[in-house]
Every structure is written in C-alpha cells, then in structure tokens.
Symmetry: D3
C-alpha cells in the first residue's frame, strides 16, 4: 500500500452523521480577551469561571497525538480535545476530537446536543471502517463542549433506567429482547 | 371523576425528555417588525422569505384545539403548531405542539435538533400514560421549527437505510433482529 | 354549555400582543448539560450560578395547575413558571406563564423585554374576556425569565417616579389628570 | 455662554430610558464581508437582500448633521441613521439616531424592541430639556434597525385601534378621558 | 470659520475602517433587568459578576466630555466609555468611545475583535485629519468591551515579542528594518 | 525518520495566533434541516440562498487531501474547505482549512474576522516552520466562511490603497520605506 493511499486526506460529512448532528447551537460570544476555565473552581456557572493565572499551556494538548485503544465491542475510540482538556477554549466556541476505528470498527450512532460537526479523514476510509487497516478522523465542533449522547447506550443503560416497556414499545420488540440488549450494552463489571 | 381531577394542570419536564432534549439552539433574532413566511415562495433561504401581504390570520391556528388520533401502534399523536401552520411565526423563535396519548400510549424517544422543550400537562398524567383516560400536553419550543427525530424510526427505517450491520453492532443484536425491528417499525403500505 | 364549548382549545396571537411583544431577544446558549439555578447563591452573574445538588424536582412545578385570583381592578392574574419557579430552566431559554381572566377581565398592555410570546387558549375566548365565564391561557416564551413591564403601572407608579409634567406631555393631559391616574393605579395600602 | 459650556459633552443613560430600553436583542452575525441592503429589492427576507453594486456612498449619510424640526407638540425630533438611511449597515448590527429637543421639549416614553440604546449628549442638558437652549443627543443601538414604539401614540392612535374600554381599564380612566387623549395625540389632518 | 462649518455633523464609515472592522461578534443577551459589573469582584467570569448595590451613577460617565491629549507621535487619542468606565453596561451589548485628532493626526490601523463600529463626526473632517483644526468623532460599538488591537504596535512591540525573522518575512523587509520599527514604536521609558 | 516522528499529531493554539484570532463571531443558527448554498444564485442574502436539488456531494470535498504549493515568498499555502468548496456547510457554522509550510515557511500574521480558530498539527512542528521538512496543519473554524485578512498585504497592497503617509505614520517609517514594502508585497505581474 502506497503512502499516498495510506494518507488519503479527505474531508467529508457522511449523511448518517448529518441526519443526527444537524444541531445548531453556537456558544455565546466571549466578552473579554481570554477566560481560561478553572475546571474545578466554584461556583459553577454557564461554562466555567476564569482561572486566575493562565499560561500558554492552557491552550495546548497532546492527547490527539495518540490513537485511542479500539479493542472494544464497537471497535472504536473517541479522544476529546475540548474545554475539559484545553481550559483555554473556555468562551472560544470551538473544539476538536479524534476518533480511531479498528478494521470493521464503528462509532455508534450518536448526537452532539450543543454543536455541528465537520470531519477530516486522517487515515483510512470512513463508511464504517470496511478497510483492513485502522482508520482515524479529526472532528471539529462549533462548541467548547459539544456533549455526546450515544443513542443505544443512553436508551438502554442510563441511570435511572428508561422503563423496559417504554423501550419495548418504542422499538416494537419484546421485553425479553429489551433485556437482552440492555445486558449486551451494559459496561462490564 | 371531579372537574378538579380531570383538569389537573401541571407543568413539568420529565427527565427522559431532558436527557434527549437539552439542545440549546435559539433562532437568529428578527431584523424587522414582521416577516410572515411565504411557505412556497422562491428562493429558499435560511428560514423563509417574507409574504407580500400578511394578515391577522397568518398569526393564528385552530389545529391545537382538536385531539390527534391516537389509534396507532404507539398510542400517541403529535399536532404541530409551528411556522408551517402559523406563517407569522417566521423569525419569531417560538412554537407550540400538542401531544395526545391514548391510555398506555407513548410518544417514542426523540430529539428536537433546533430547540429546547417545556411541557404543560393539559389533561391526565404523564409518565408514559399509565392512566385509564387519555392524556394531553402542550409543548413549547424556542424555535419556529424545532424539527423532530424519532430515534427508533430514524435509525431503522430511513432512506437511504442505515446498513443492517451498523445497527446490529450499535445495538449488539443480530442481523435478523435488526430486520425484525425494521419490519415492525416500517410504515404500513 | 357543552364540554366542547367550554374547552375550545385555540391558539392565536392577538395583534395587540404582537405589536407590543415582537421583542426578539433569545437567551445565550447553554455550555453544559444542566446548570440548575441557585436562586439565592452569590455572586450574582448574568442568569444564575449553578446549584451544587440538582434533583428532578428542580425541573417541575405545580403552580400552573391553580387558577390565579382575578378579583382585582383589572380582573386578571398572571402566574409565572419561569426560572424563579423552576430553577432547572436556568440556561434552557424557555418558560411558561398562565393568565386567568375574570368575565370582562383584562391583562393590561405590557411588554416582555427579553422574549417573544406565543399564546394557547386553555378555556374561554380571548378578545379581552368578553365572555360570561372565566378564560385562561398558557403563554410560552423563548427566555428563562422574559420580564414584564405593565405599561400604565410602570409609567404612573414607578419609584423613582416619572415626573408628572413628563407624563402630562406624553399623554397630552393635564397634571391633575396625571395625578388621578397615579392615584387609581397605585397599589392599595 | 462659553463654547465649553455650550458643548458640554457627557454620556449617560437616564433611568427612565433604561427601564424601557433594556431590551437585549442583538442582530444575527454576518456571513460575508458586506451585504449592502437593496431596500426595495424582492423578495423580502429577514433583514434585506444584498445590492448587486455597492459603493462607498452606501456606508455614509449626512442626515445627522442637521438638527430636526422641534416645533411640534412634544418639542422634539428624532432623526434616524439606520439601515434605511445607510444601506451598508445591513448585517452589521449597529445604527445611530439624533434626537433634538426644544427648550422644555420631551422625547415621549418609548421602547426599541430590537436594541439596547446608549446616549451621548451633544449639546445642552438632558432631564427632559429643562434648559433655555436646545439640546441634542446621539443615540447608538446594537441593531441595524432598532424599531421604535412610542407608547402613548401606539396605544391611543394605532390602526386597528385598541378598543376604548381596554384603554379605560388599563389606565383606570373613563371612556371620555380615553377619547380625549386619542383626539389630542392623533396626527393633525 | 462659522459655527456651522465648525460643527459639521456627519456620520460615515471610512472604507479603511470597514475593511478592518467588519467583525460581527454580538454580545450574549442579558438574562435579567440589570447586572452592573463588579469590576474587581471574584471570581472572574465571561463578562463580569454583578455588583450587589447598583446606583444610577453606574450608568453614567463624563469621560467623553473632555478631548483626549493628542500631543503624541500619532497625533490622536482614544477615550473609551465601555463597561470599564460605565459598569452598568455589563450584559447590555453596547459602548462608545471618543477619538480626538490633532491637525494631521492619525488613529493608526487597528481592529476591534468583539464589535462592529459606526462613527459620528463631532468636529472637523475625517480622512486622517488633513485639516488645520482638531477633529473628533464618537464611535459606537455593539459590545460592552469591543477590545482594540493596534496592528503595528501589537506586531512590533508585544510581549512576548513576535520573532524578528517572522516580521521580516511578513513585511518582506530586513531584520534591521524590523528592529528600527520596533524601536520607533516602543513606548518611551 | 520513524512513522511516529513523521506523524506527531499535536493540537495547539500558538499565542500569536490567539492574539490575532480571538474574534468571537458565531454564525446565526439554522432554521431548517439543510440549506445547501446555491453559490451563484440570486438574489444574494446574508449567507447564501438554498440550492433546489441538494445531493450528498454537496457535503464533501477532496481539496484538503493535496498539500498546497509552498514555493512562494512566504513558503506557505492555505487550502480552504469552507462553504465555497462545500456548499452543504451553508447555515452549519463550521469549516476547515489546511495550511502547508515549506521548511522555514511562514503563514503571515492575519485575522479571521468571523471565526475563532483551533489548529491540529498534521505533520512537522509549528513555531513558524523551523524544521527541515514540510509541516502541515488542519485549522477548524466556527463559521461557514471565516474570512481572512493578511495584515501586511491588506495594509500595503489593497485597492483603493491606504495612503502612503498613513502607513508611514502608523509604522513610523519613511514614505520611501513604505513604497519599498508595497513593491515587495505586490503580486507579481
């Protein structure tokens, strides 16, 4: 496989992604030059209060340099680089994430309730990952903290739980089938 | 049953609703007094172009006065009163909907990609509808057209379809189980 | 009177309402999942700081279930269900109110400086209330705290007062007529 | 009177102004470098469609250089410099106005439904105009078209009219007194 | 020179101004009636926390009444009237500034990263100041704190410094020429 | 050089970048599911009117897959992937760009008037490019069309030109030095 093939850089937004991510919440505009997040400071406000002593390191992270571990059921891993990892993003209205896919891996259907997403394919192909080699993308968001709701996991394993009969009716399956999905999706203990 | 019981007016937001509806997209502000939507006018723009001759009727609808028909699989009906029914809402950033529930009815899990929702219980109780009588709510949104994505239906019956193996992996079920859900959720022909 | 008549559910926006309420301020978008208002917490910020321990009750109120007392000069009562009654609405950008009207009652001309309003008629007719029975509406707003300025009361009874000669000139009436309106509109001691 | 006295430049926002103008609607952000308004172009949209051939003159006006005529009942004149006079302001979210006051003149209580206002006193003093010489201010708004609702005029002389009995009840005056105000405020024929 | 000439009041936006100031960031909307800035209060947030005891003086300043001292290299002086001088502007989304120009004076090219600007000419002419008498303008912004970046000063005298070879390459000049500009622009010690 | 070295993926925002890019204009929110830009359609509006027949290709581009040609004076090339290349981004509020740097290359100081920027380093190191091999980054913006103003080029080569004496005074250099910079920065004929 040539270097050219291996690093086919393409940007695209899959239609599946769009149908779930067309949320258009843009963060409120900033009111001063910088307001680096004090992530553990009190009180909590909409967003974060500002750190007293900001440095250049508050605007920097290396987490996106390392592929995430994809040896899990879905064969994928999301590495976030939002205001939680880069406190300097507070009030700036943008963030990034890296998603790695094992061969045949899938980032399950999800929504980002506070952002629109655009995807740059770093490596491999992205229609699920039907390839024989890993794939990776960089996703950009117009929010400092886009939020994520993995649909299947949220519906079938949240606390407090969505009642089984609600899920049975919503998906038109039996209570037993609901319980089976819940059991399969539940985190290993 | 007393009049008091029958019209127990309560407002509340169920947690399930919140966990799926905490989308915070507010519409752009208006730039003139009124811009009543010309729903079929060309060209299409973000929102709608303005009708030439607006009247008081463009700000009015009676659709919310009639309960929707709930004799369907889910036992519920949504009646919208947004910019499509009330053209005068164009650029105003608010809309309403009425949801009717048969006894044991359910409005299946969904998201509104362009709005936050607040719910006023018109009649009955709302934890699903476990009651013996119909229930009804008025939902208010901070968008002229909040949009709706019924999760199960969108995932299992959209066109073009989400591939069966993606759904199987997302819900950790077999391809056969995917096909069964698709068949149950598909609209009757 | 039939049940059908009695519960004629209509939604409409009176032109008077529009000419005074076409304010298009939408709240800033939220930056995290929830930020339940700590209504008495310090410091004060734009909106409210977030409560440390939120519960489901912060997203719920029963105040809209009870008609307000309309035995007053105007024959109307406004019951608010905004962030002050439902702290969970903080950062969510929506709220409700209930307005009850005695026969011949009037909700005096007013503006909501931070929201657009849409009105659902719960009971009775709403052109003032010309009916013989009470009327009630649910109003929805695209702000967590729309604010209200009752025009006559604000102009004629605010503290510090608008000078009498300003009001006389604005309404082209005499100082004596200004004083009479002030006296009529002043809250009873 | 010295030149210094005569041009006492002060900026302030009267409390009356604030209590009526604290509307916080900021215009939607622009999406390209310029979009000069085609004021008569079709179709109408939220704001204005863009002119094909913009020139430097679209960003300029001299209307604020001439004091308005204040020989009227209220003794004041508002000269607007918004998108209607400066088409280049379209999508820019700011505008100005000049208000001139005759001695003892008054700009009657009003609201700007789409903007906050800040006032710079060009000449004279501004508590009404109690001075013996003319006064003038420059008002700045955070909207390309702030809109204006003169409260008394809107309530008592709009078309279609607010019913007399509504106004009588709102201001707690007699129908005769309502009719007298209407007559005084109505534009001369 | 007549009083009329001397106070030729014109409003205009120079094209140079536009090409650098077409930034369209509008402040987030307010969520309560007033939130007067506590300028030194802790913690810092996006904007300012609210002062406990606001007075009318928080909405007022006289700084714009005095021409700034223009006896400097550029022959101009900017006097700001934003949230730092008028704490009541916090959350209100507008501010003003006064710029004075000596004969032949220049307000050097700059950007306002958080606002659009509109300019009212108070006195003199404004194409630089080519006149023989002082000129002055009032600038209005759609932000409580528009921010200012004087381009030459920011690039050549910031701390930490932009490396000389970056500036040499950017302006296609020699390192020696870079050092000369740095020396000329540096504040006198 | 190892594959690891060669693809050191880091994300960071250089302080120089921040000091010039802290512009916080977020695009207005969308009002429908999609509004794919009709890039040449009439009339022009804020943003773009919607294309009648959108396809999946409107959401996709391959331009970011090819490094830009960096054999120019600055040793860098910007490849945009905004609404002009991906019409489907219209109303979505996000875009990307790729910047390639030759060894010793520089992307000259600039501002993006309508967006905040976050940078992901694809290859090489980014403090200028002091390395011996090419460098490349992906930049993400919270606007569909962030705009770019290259400071030196805009000031010294725009049409109509900024007068030489303005530039001389702004940078405290001689008219001759201004003319030399203009000549060096002017595009080759």
């Amino acid at each position: 496989m040539s270097a050219f093939d291996r690093f086919l850089f393409v940007i695209f937004m899959v239609f599946l992604t769009i149908s779930f991510n067309e949320v258009l919440a843009s963060d409120p505009d900033m009111l001063q030059d910088i307001c680096v997040a004090d992530l553990t400071g009190k009180p909590k406000v909409n967003g974060f209060i500002c750190k007293e002593n900001a440095t250049a390191y508050d605007f920097f992270t290396t987490v996106l340099g390392t592929p995430g571990a994809t040896n899990n059921k879905q064969g994928s891993a999301v590495t976030a680089a939002n205001v939680m990892q880069i406190p300097g993003l507070n009030t700036l209205g943008v963030s990034l994430a890296r998603i790695d896919y094992a061969p045949d891996g899938l980032n399950p259907p999800h929504t980002h309730p506070r952002a629109t997403e655009i995807v740059f394919v770093l490596e491999g192909e992205l229609d699920k990952n039907n390839g024989k080699v890993p794939a990776a993308v960089i996703a950009a968001f117009n929010s400092q903290l886009p939020g994520t709701q993995a649909i299947a996991v949220t519906l079938f394993t949240s606390t407090p739980p969505v009642p089984d009969n609600v899920l049975a009716k919503a998906f038109q399956i039996s209570i037993e089938e609901v319980k089976k999905i819940e059991s399969n999706l539940a985190p290993k203990k």
